[in-house]
Amino acid sequence: MATLIDIQNLAKSYTRGKQKVEVLHHVDLTIAEGDFLALMGPSGSGKTTLLNLIGGLDAPSAGSISVGGQRIDQLGGGALAKWRASNVGFIFQFYNLMPMLSAQRNVELPLLLTKLSAAQRKKNASIALQLVGLADRASHKPSELSGGQQQRVAIARAIVSDPALLVCDEPTGDLDRQSAEDVLGLLQQLNRDHGKTIVMVTHDPKAAEYASHTLHLDKGALVEQGAFA
């Protein structure tokens, strides 16, 4: 399968006051189109940092990231925002929905950045909500939905503009078993039936089982799976 994400010699460090913290070093990673990758590792190992770099939310200190042939580490802020809008869907642990907007309006949000008409936006958002099984909750505010439902709305929002890549940071971290399984099943379905490439950070080995394979991060570096066995 073709490569979607190609990461070479990636490093990321933060300077806190005078101190320089190297969070990621020498990360080499390729992710194929249509892959469902789980990223695991202890707290503070740099999982979120790596995910943010892949999703174009942050810029690396060194190395290169290309997604779909595009060197996103070389894009400026404005261009990167545009790139995110059409290429990546984000799913967070705490859903991060707009509390004042209905599920429908939340899902429509990314479409405001497109040239679609109001009617088209509405229609596409409805389709996305249908896909996550929440068509009947379109007018509900996030506070009127369960955690699992909120996360599914967030998934609908992530896929509504049809990006090739979904990045998920502990998407089930705040959910009970049943809701977590629903969400993971949904992600699996999006991967299998809709060809979405998914990179998912998780602490839960059960969640990782839904992915096609798992990588481990420790102290800012990728480690062979065998090292943990």
Partner: protein
């Protein structure tokens, strides 16, 4: 426009706080509407270019001191004087002391001196032909519902009739209109014949209150004024002649102070408003940090996030401001009515609206600037991690 629901939702995220802020914006602009209307009304009374060709000759010492009627003929002979008329203060009360009617007893040619007054030829003729006739401004007619043909009893505050009664009765023979740029109050005058006034008045002795001298050329003003005053120099009725403009200018000086007072009050009010609203906006944006980060994550550019926050604060000001000015527009006439015309607040004019809306946008931008800047600079990764 497609972002309006977003801005609206953000605005009413904390209803109580937004409503309280709105109330103070409404109050500020209500005050602004009323005060600015007062200011503009005063200003317009002193700004017109009408009347540049008129001089006013009054007693040098006091407006109350009368001048001899014979002076008029002598003023008329001075080169540069086109026409001379005169008037006396009558000061009428209609039924109740609070219904004060500005009334002048005027010479037959008085209306000719004011081309900004428009009276139909028939009404003018009827007025001229009726000793006890009167003509009134349309605003005054409106105020009391007076019509041509009405007999109006006016009590003079000063002048009794020869029979001792203070109640004079006049026949309304005409109702005039005035040009838009005419001096303030001209459309509220009540004019009666000086001749009747002088003859019927127990104190009548052929004196006039002041002369109005119309010039052939406004440029001659100073020279003519000197010449007129020279006529009565060293007499027992020395005069002071001023252009209507000079008269207005000295008047405007006091009004300048009104402008200053209004300006200071509004300055203080808006300063407080800015502090208050800026605080609201700063708080509103701070507590939405993660939401703004999500917008940016989704692909909203930094600049559109800046615009969203600015739009939010401008909208807040516009909602409150328009309600406030609207209330002022409604309340001003209501106060006038409620007080029976004692307090006459002018309506909120287009100028006040334009300036008000300008202020709303300006204050909105000022107040939103810092939070908007912060939102624009927001680092997504830090904001998402709650740092």
């Amino acid at each position: 426009m497609k972002y309006l629901h977003l801005i609206w939702a953000a605005l009413f995220r904390r209803k109580t706080r937004t409503v309280l802020t709105l109330v103070s914006i409404i109050a500020a602009f209500l005050l602004f509407g009323m005060l600015d209307a007062v200011r503009t009304a005063f200003d317009s009374g002193s700004q017109g270019i009408v009347g540049v060709d008129r001089l006013v000759t009054s007693s040098r010492y006091s407006i109350i001191q009368p001048l001899p009627e014979s002076l008029g003929a002598r003023i008329a002979t001075i080169p540069g004087v086109r026409d001379v008329g005169h008037a006396n203060w009558f000061g009428g009360i209609y039924q109740d002391p609070k219904n004060f009617v500005f009334s002048y007893a005027v010479s037959p040619n008085y209306l000719d001196l004011y081309p900004e007054i428009h009276l139909s030829a028939e009404q003018r003729k009827a007025f001229d032909g009726n000793r006890t006739g009167a003509v009134i401004g349309d605003k005054l007619a409106q105020k009391y519902g007076w019509k041509v043909g009405d007999k109006i009893p006016l009590q003079s505050t000063i002048f009794p009739l020869k029979n001792g009664s203070k109640t004079w009765t006049f026949d309304i023979e005409g109702i005039y209109t005035v040009d838009k740029d005419a001096a303030n109050g001209l459309d509220q005058l009540f004019m009666l014949h000086w001749k009747y006034f002088d003859e019927a008045n127990a104190f009548g002795n052929g004196t006039v209150g002041w002369y109005v001298d119309r010039l052939t050329d406004p440029a001659l003003g100073d020279r003519v004024a000197h010449a007129i005053d020279a006529l009565s120099a060293n007499s027992d009725h020395e005069t002071k002649t001023q252009t209507e403009q000079a008269f207005s200018a000295s008047f405007a000086k006091q009004l300048g102070d009104i402008g200053l007072i209004v300006g200071s009050i509004m300055g203080a009010v808006f300063f407080t408003l800015i502090l208050l609203t800026a605080n609201t906006m700063a708080q509103a944006v701070r507590e939405r940090t993660s939401e703004l980060a999500v917008l940016k994550t989704i692909g909203f550019s930094s600049r559109s996030v800046l615009a969203l926050v600015l739009a939010e604060s401008v909208l807040l000001l516009l909602i409150g401001g328009v309600i406030g000015l609207g209330l002022a527009a409604v309340l001003a006439p209501a106060i006038g009515k409620g007080s029976g015309g004692m307090i006459n607040l002018p309506p909120v004019g287009a100028g006040s609206w334009a300036m008000g809306v300008g202020l709303m946008v300006l204050i909105g931008l000022v107040v939103g600037a810092l939070p908007a800047w912060r939102a624009m600079r927001l680092n997504i990764v830090d904001a998402l991690a709650g740092r």
